[in-house]
């Protein structure tokens, strides 16, 4: 692999892992506080899968540059993280969480489907391994969007409000990282453009069927994963607090 391609792949894997880790963090804030016991279970399941995916992407990075996944997760500063801003937003209410999860799950499922054919075999295998989990999440959150959209006036209003807030942020999922074109050229990762088109089509149809309106003004659309929301610093202060409390620890 050419060094420039390798660097881009390392950056891409980091972004993939960071998205999963931070989203898992936000979702895990619900555990024990869900609206129904069954949803505590379902969301805990999603969190585990997301942590599994983060571990997998960081693991692929490790094969390339030897970096330790736990070091990446617990000793990197906010400005070195490459998650998108969508996953950093506070968990909000149940509508906010379910909508974010749906928008993300659909993007991820489509991306993984395409990534199964990656020319980089470890990535193709990873995608094949986790696509089934992702389809299961998607089914779950897709159903929630429908239920809340078509439930009561209140639930529709909350979901619509979440959509208005998140729509611009969600577009960042389709912004390539610097150097991603190299990876696309080598067939290592799928091109984001066609995935976005398909995503837009499916999301639009599902949201409209659930009585929701796509916002006319999408609002802020982040264009670089180098910048973050004001929340990331606090997320990491909490998330890394135990690990950094005793950096001398050899094992946890």
């Amino acid at each position: 692999m050419k060094p420039s391609v390798k660097d881009a792949l390392i950056a891409k894997l980091t972004a993939l892992g960071d998205d999963e880790l931070i989203l898992a963090h936000r979702n895990s804030e619900w555990v024990g506080h869900g609206p129904i016991l069954e949803e505590d279970i379902a969301l805990a399941n999603i969190v585990q899968d997301e942590l599994g995916h983060a571990t997998l992407w960081y693991g692929l990075r490790k094969e390339l540059d030897g970096s330790d996944p736990d070091q990446l997760a617990f000793f990197r500063d906010a400005n070195e993280y490459r998650c998108c801003e969508l996953v950093e937003l506070p968990k909000g209410d149940w509508a906010f969480t379910m909508l974010r999860q749906y928008l993300f799950d659909l993007y991820e499922a489509l991306w993984l489907e395409a990534a199964q054919h990656s020319a980089y075999k470890p990535l193709a295998e990873a995608a094949q391994k986790i696509i089934r989990e992702e389809r299961f999440h998607l089914q779950h959150t897709r159903a929630w969007v429908e239920r809340l959209g078509l439930g009561t006036e209140e639930s529709n209003r909350r979901l619509q409000q979440a959509l208005n807030f998140q729509w611009g942020y969600a577009q960042q999922l389709f912004v390539p990282i610097p150097g991603e074109e190299l990876l696309v050229a080598e067939g290592i990762v799928p091109e984001l453009g066609p995935i976005r088109e398909r995503w837009l089509e499916l999301v639009t149809r599902h949201l409209q069927n659930a009585d929701l309106k796509l916002p006319i003004n999408p609002g802020y659309q982040p264009t670089s994963r180098a910048y973050h929301t004001e929340h990331l610093w606090s997320i990491l202060a909490e998330m890394q607090s135990t690990a950094r409390w005793e950096p001398e620890a050899k094992v946890w």
């Binding site: 129904i36 016991l37 571990t55 239920r147 009561t152 209140e154 639930s155 620890a249």
Partner: protein, 310 residues
């Protein structure tokens, strides 16, 4: 009278009582009390541990902890189902929890202050729970007994993981060791207490034993717990905050000093360190989830109507 005699004979023969079977009202009442308390304990028990998911020190530990808390939610679910077979609804049980009428295990009214508490809860609290649950797996009521078998298997796994963590930290850096010792100091006594008052102060024990709901008394179960855990803690190089604790050659038991039952009753009657916060957290989750549950009902009703119309 005749039915009662037959019922007690079945129990003596070791038969399981099943949902449709005749049973004395008191048997039903005691079981509902115990099973719903047990279910509530699982649900409330998610809180002290759940708060540390966001602060776990490695990806692996984070994943293990989420899985554990998820298991607790699952246990809550089985147990609510088991109680429902006795003719009480989950709503009624939740209502009793949120209004403060129903109890849950006193142990969850203590705070989790450091990461070592997660290991210690797995080792000591789940360890104590398992002793109790292994006994209840023999219980005369079929659904409870079967739920216990399943739960015990999972708890045994949590217990192992918790023990592994504490032993690791006991061998770790000075800060890790101090953290582990501090956690043992705080959880040892509450773990002993969670197994319930001494037999002489436990008015329900006699009838529970007669009807095969319990097969051992609180003190017996507590002794088993201490006999297993005390030597392991000491072997790990940690100390136990009971200056009177000693091994008794004659009986083969580890004998403990006096338990602060005053503290126990304070916690049971609502004055433990975390009683207010735990109930408040459950109430808030319930209240903030109300619109979600309403939406689900409304959606289901619309779907039904649509189905009928077709």
């Amino acid at each position: 009278q005749e039915r009662l005699a037959e019922f007690e004979a079945r129990i003596r023969r070791g038969e399981k009582i099943e949902p449709g079977d005749w049973m004395p009202e008191e048997y039903r009442r005691q079981l509902i009390r115990m099973i719903s308390q047990h279910a509530h304990s699982e649900v409330v028990g998610m809180l002290p541990e759940g708060a540390w998911i966001t602060r776990a020190p490695t990806l692996k530990r984070k994943m293990i902890l989420v899985a554990k808390v998820q298991d607790e939610a699952g246990h809550g679910q089985y147990l609510y189902h088991a109680a429902e077979t006795l003719g009480i609804s989950r709503e009624a049980m939740l209502e009793a929890l949120l209004s403060g009428k129903a109890k849950y295990s006193s142990i969850f009214n203590y705070p989790t202050l450091t990461w070592a508490d997660i290991g210690t809860i797995g080792w000591l609290v789940d360890g104590a729970a398992i002793k109790n649950q292994t006994m209840l797996a023999q219980c005369s009521y079929g659904p409870y007994s079967r739920a216990m078998v399943r739960i015990c298997a999972e708890e045994t796994f949590h217990h192992k993981q918790g023990k592994e963590m504490v032993l690791l930290y006991a061998q770790g850096t000075p800060k890790q060791r101090a953290m582990a010792q501090d956690a043992i100091n705080r959880w040892w006594w509450p773990a002993l207490m969670m197994l319930g008052p001494h037999d002489k102060d436990s008015p329900n024990t006699e009838v529970l034993v007669r009807w095969g709901i319990k097969t051992k008394t609180n003190d017996q179960v507590r002794q088993e717990f201490i006999n297993e855990h005390a030597p392991e803690i000491l072997a790990a190089g940690l100390s136990i905050p009971d200056p009177e604790l000693r091994y008794d050659e004659k009986s083969g038991n580890w004998l403990h000093g006096p338990i602060n039952w005053d503290e126990f009753w304070q916690v049971v009657s609502g004055n433990g360190p975390m009683n207010k916060e735990r109930l408040e957290a459950r109430r808030r989750a319930h209240a903030e989830g109300a619109w979600v549950r309403e939406a689900l009902e409304a959606y289901a009703a619309k779907q039904k109507k649509a189905a009928v119309a077709v």
